[in-house]
C-alpha cells in the first residue's frame, strides 16, 4: 500500500445546535486515507459517519451544524481553514461525493447531461458542445448503454442502478483523488448492489483513487474494503485491516456487530442482536458510550472513557477490555 496520506482527519468535532439542545454528532474522529485504498466507515444510523463525510466535504448546513474542533487535512492543507472560494475548488475537483438515494440527489428538472456538463462548464470553463461530449463519455465509462441518447434523459427515466451510475459518473467527472461514497448501494436491490460495488472498485483501481465507503452493511464491506473504521456515538472505536476485524474483533461493539449477522450454518438458532438502541446524541452516556448495551461492561466502563490502544501496527481499539474481547 502507498504510504502517502491523501486525507487526514484529526480529532474532528461536530455538534448540532438545535432548540432541543446540543447534539454531539462527531466527538474526536481520526481517519486516514491513502491513494488507491478503500477505507470503510462502518456504523449504525446516527453514529456520525455521514456527518463526518459532510464535514470533510464542507457541505454541512450551518446552522444547525457547527464544526467545533479538529482538522481536515487534504495533502497537508487544512480544508477547514480555507476560504469558501478555495474550498469550492476542492469539491468535485479533488474530493467528490456520492449519496445514498440517487433519485432525490439528482435534480429532477434537468437532464443528466446538463447536470454532468455543468461540472465542466463551471470548473473548467469548457464550451457547451465539448462539455456535452464529455458527459456522454462519462456515461459510457460507468457502463450506461446507449449513452449518446440517454444523456438527454431526466433522472426519473433511469432505473435505480442506472441512476446510481449517473451519480458515480458525476462524482468522477473531474478526476478527484478522493471519493466519498455515503451508503451508495443501500437504496438498491442486492444484485444491483454487487454491480455498483464492482463498478466502483474497477474505477478506483484505474485511477488509484482513495475511496471512503460509508456503510452500515458488513456484507458490502467485506469484499471491497482494505481497512475498516467502526464508529459508535461519534467516535471511531476500532480500526483495523479488514481480515483482522472479521477474524478477531478487538472491540466489544465490533464483536457484537459481527455476531448479529445471520449465518446459514446457524440456521434455526436464535440470532444474536445488540440489545437497546444507539444513544441519543444529545445525551451520550458517560464513560464508554457503548457500556449500556455491552456484554463486557463493568464498573470502570461507566466512569472512565476507554483510551485508544494500539494493539498492532495497523490496529487500534478503544475498549477497556481489549484483551478479553480478543481472547488473549
Amino acid at each position: 500500500m502507498n504510504q502517502e496520506i491523501l486525507l487526514d482527519v484529526r480529532d474532528l468535532h461536530v455538534e448540532f445546535r438545535t432548540r432541543d439542545g446540543v447534539a454531539r454528532a462527531v466527538n474526536g474522529v481520526n481517519l486516514r486515507l491513502h491513494p488507491g485504498e478503500t477505507l470503510a466507515v462502518l456504523g449504525e444510523s446516527g453514529c456520525g459517519k455521514s456527518v463526518t463525510a459532510q464535514a470533510i466535504m464542507g457541505i454541512l448546513d450551518t446552522p444547525p451544524a457547527h464544526i467545533t474542533g479538529g482538522q481536515v487535512l487534504y495533502r497537508g492543507v487544512d480544508l477547514l481553514q480555507l476560504p469558501e472560494r478555495e474550498r469550492r475548488k476542492v469539491r468535485a475537483n479533488r474530493i467528490a461525493m456520492i449519496f445514498q438515494d440517487a433519485l432525490s440527489a439528482l435534480n429532477p428538472v434537468y437532464t443528466v447531461g446538463f447536470q454532468l456538463a455543468e461540472l465542466f462548464r463551471v470548473h473548467r470553463g469548457t464550451s457547451r458542445g465539448e462539455a456535452k461530449r464529455r458527459a456522454v463519455e462519462l456515461l459510457d465509462q460507468v457502463r450506461i448503454p446507449d449513452a449518446r441518447r440517454r444523456v438527454n434523459d431526466y433522472p426519473h427515466q433511469f432505473s435505480g442502478g442506472m441512476r446510481q451510475r449517473v451519480m458515480i459518473a458525476m462524482a468522477l467527472a473531474l478526476d478527484p483523488e478522493v471519493l466519498i461514497a455515503d451508503e451508495p448501494t443501500t437504496a438498491l436491490d442486492v444484485t444491483v448492489q454487487a454491480q455498483i460495488m464492482n463498478l466502483l472498485a474497477d474505477l478506483q483501481r484505474q485511477r488509484t483513487m482513495g475511496l471512503m465507503l460509508i456503510t452500515h452493511d458488513m456484507g458490502v464491506v467485506a469484499d471491497v474494503a482494505d481497512r475498516i473504521a467502526v464508529m459508535y456515538a461519534g467516535r471511531v472505536v476500532e480500526e483495523a485491516p479488514v481480515y483482522d476485524i472479521y477474524g478477531r474483533p478487538a472491540h466489544a461493539y465490533t464483536k457484537a456487530l459481527l455476531e448479529s449477522i445471520p449465518r446459514l450454518d446457524h440456521k434455526g438458532r436464535q440470532l444474536n442482536v445488540i440489545q437497546g438502541l444507539p444513544p441519543a446524541l444529545t445525551d451520550v452516556p458517560r464513560g464508554c458510550s457503548f457500556h449500556p448495551r455491552c456484554a463486557y461492561a463493568r464498573e470502570i466502563c461507566r466512569h472512565e472513557e476507554p483510551p485508544v490502544y494500539q494493539i498492532a501496527p495497523q490496529r487500534i481499539a478503544s475498549c477497556h477490555f481489549v484483551r478479553e474481547v480478543l481472547g488473549v
Binding site: 468535485a92 435534480n107 428538472v109 463551471v122
Partner: protein, 308 residues
C-alpha cells in the same frame, strides 16, 4: 403532447357552452320584462311589443332563444346591447385596455412576489422575511373595494404621484396605480407560495449534491433551486388570472378605465343581458386559453409531467 392539446381543446368547447348557457340562463331569469327595460319609463303599446318580441325572438322559448344567440355568437355576431350599440365593437374597444392592465399587474405581481419570496425563503426568520410577512398579511386582509378607492385617494389625489383616473388610451404610467392595486390581490399568496417552495427545495437532497459539486451559492439557488421552486408558483399564477378578472371589475370601475370589467360592471347594473352574456362569453374563452397555456408551461418546467 399533441393528443393532450386536442383533448383539452375539446374540453374547452364543452366548458364554453356550459358557461355561456349558465350565464344566459341567469340573465334570462333575472330580467322579467326586457322590453320595458329597453324603452325605460315610457309605456309600450301592444303593437310595438309584438314587433319587438318578433325581432328579439322573445315570443319563443328559452332554448330557442339560446339557440339564436349561440348561432350569432359562432358567426362572430354578438348582437346589440340594450342601448343599441354593437357588442362586438364594444368588446374590441374594451379588451386592449384590459389586456394592458392585466399584463402589467401580472408582471408586477410575479416579479415582486418571486423576487421577495426567494429572498425571504433563503433567510427565513430574518428581518426581510418578517417585514414581508407583516406586509403581506396587511395586503391580504384588505378587500379590493377598500384598497382601490383608498389608493386612488392617497396616491392619486392627496400625494398626486399618479393620475387618479385612466382613460381609453391610458399609457403604462397611468395604468401603474390601478395595476398595483389589482396586483395586490394576488401578490401576497404568490409571495408566500414562493417562499415556502424555496425553503422546502433548499432542504432537498439535490441541493446538497449541487453544493458537493463545488457550485457557488448563486448558481445553486439561481439554477437548481429556482426552477424547482417555480413549479407551484406558475400554477398559482394561472389560477390568479381568474382572480384578476373579477378584481378588474372593481378596479376599472374605481379608476374609470373603459375596459372589460368596466363594461361588465355597467351591464350588470343596467340589467343589460346581451352585453353581460357577450362579455362573459369572451372572458370564459380567454380564461380557458390562459389555463391551457399554464398547463403546457407546467410541463415545460417539470419534465416528470408528461401529458399523454
Amino acid at each position: 403532447m399533441f393528443r393532450f392539446i386536442v383533448r383539452r381543446l375539446l374540453q374547452m368547447v364543452l366548458t364554453f357552452f356550459g358557461a355561456t348557457f349558465v350565464v344566459y340562463a341567469l340573465m334570462f331569469a333575472y330580467v322579467d320584462d326586457p322590453l320595458q327595460a329597453l324603452v325605460g319609463d315610457r309605456p309600450v303599446t301592444d303593437s310595438q311589443r309584438a314587433a319587438l318580441n318578433a325581432r328579439y325572438h322573445l315570443d319563443e322559448g328559452f332554448f330557442a332563444q339560446y339557440w339564436h344567440y349561440i348561432k350569432g355568437l359562432l358567426t362572430g355576431d354578438f348582437g346589440q346591447s340594450l342601448t343599441g350599440r354593437s357588442i362586438g365593437d364594444m368588446l374590441s374597444q374594451a379588451w386592449p385596455v384590459t389586456i394592458r392592465l392585466a399584463l402589467l399587474s401580472i408582471v408586477i405581481a410575479a416579479v415582486v412576489a418571486i423576487g421577495a419570496g426567494v429572498l425571504s425563503g433563503i433567510r427565513r426568520g430574518g428581518v426581510f422575511d418578517t417585514v414581508t410577512l407583516v406586509l403581506t398579511l396587511i395586503v391580504l386582509a384588505m378587500p379590493i373595494v377598500v384598497l382601490a378607492p383608498l389608493a386612488q385617494l392617497v396616491f392619486g389625489i392627496q400625494l398626486g404621484w399618479f393620475p387618479p383616473t385612466a382613460g381609453r388610451n391610458a399609457g403604462l404610467y397611468e395604468l401603474l396605480l390601478p395595476a398595483l392595486v389589482l396586483g395586490s390581490l394576488v401578490i401576497a399568496t404568490e409571495l408566500r407560495v414562493t417562499r415556502t417552495s424555496v425553503a422546502e427545495n433548499l432542504r432537498a437532497d439535490y441541493v446538497r449534491t449541487a453544493k458537493a459539486k463545488g457550485l457557488a451559492p448563486r448558481r445553486v439557488i439561481g439554477v437548481h433551486v429556482l426552477r424547482n421552486s417555480l413549479i407551484p408558483v406558475i400554477t398559482l399564477i394561472g389560477v390568479d388570472i381568474g382572480v384578476l378578472m373579477s378584481g378588474a371589475i372593481v378596479t376599472e370601475g374605481v379608476f374609470n378605465i373603459p375596459g372589460v370589467g368596466f363594461n361588465l360592471f355597467r351591464g350588470i347594473r343596467t340589467e343589460d343581458g346581451p352585453l353581460v352574456v357577450g362579455f362573459v362569453s369572451v372572458l370564459v374563452i380567454v380564461f380557458l386559453v390562459i389555463n391551457l397555456i399554464v398547463d403546457l408551461l407546467y410541463a415545460a418546467l417539470d419534465p416528470r409531467i408528461r401529458y399523454e
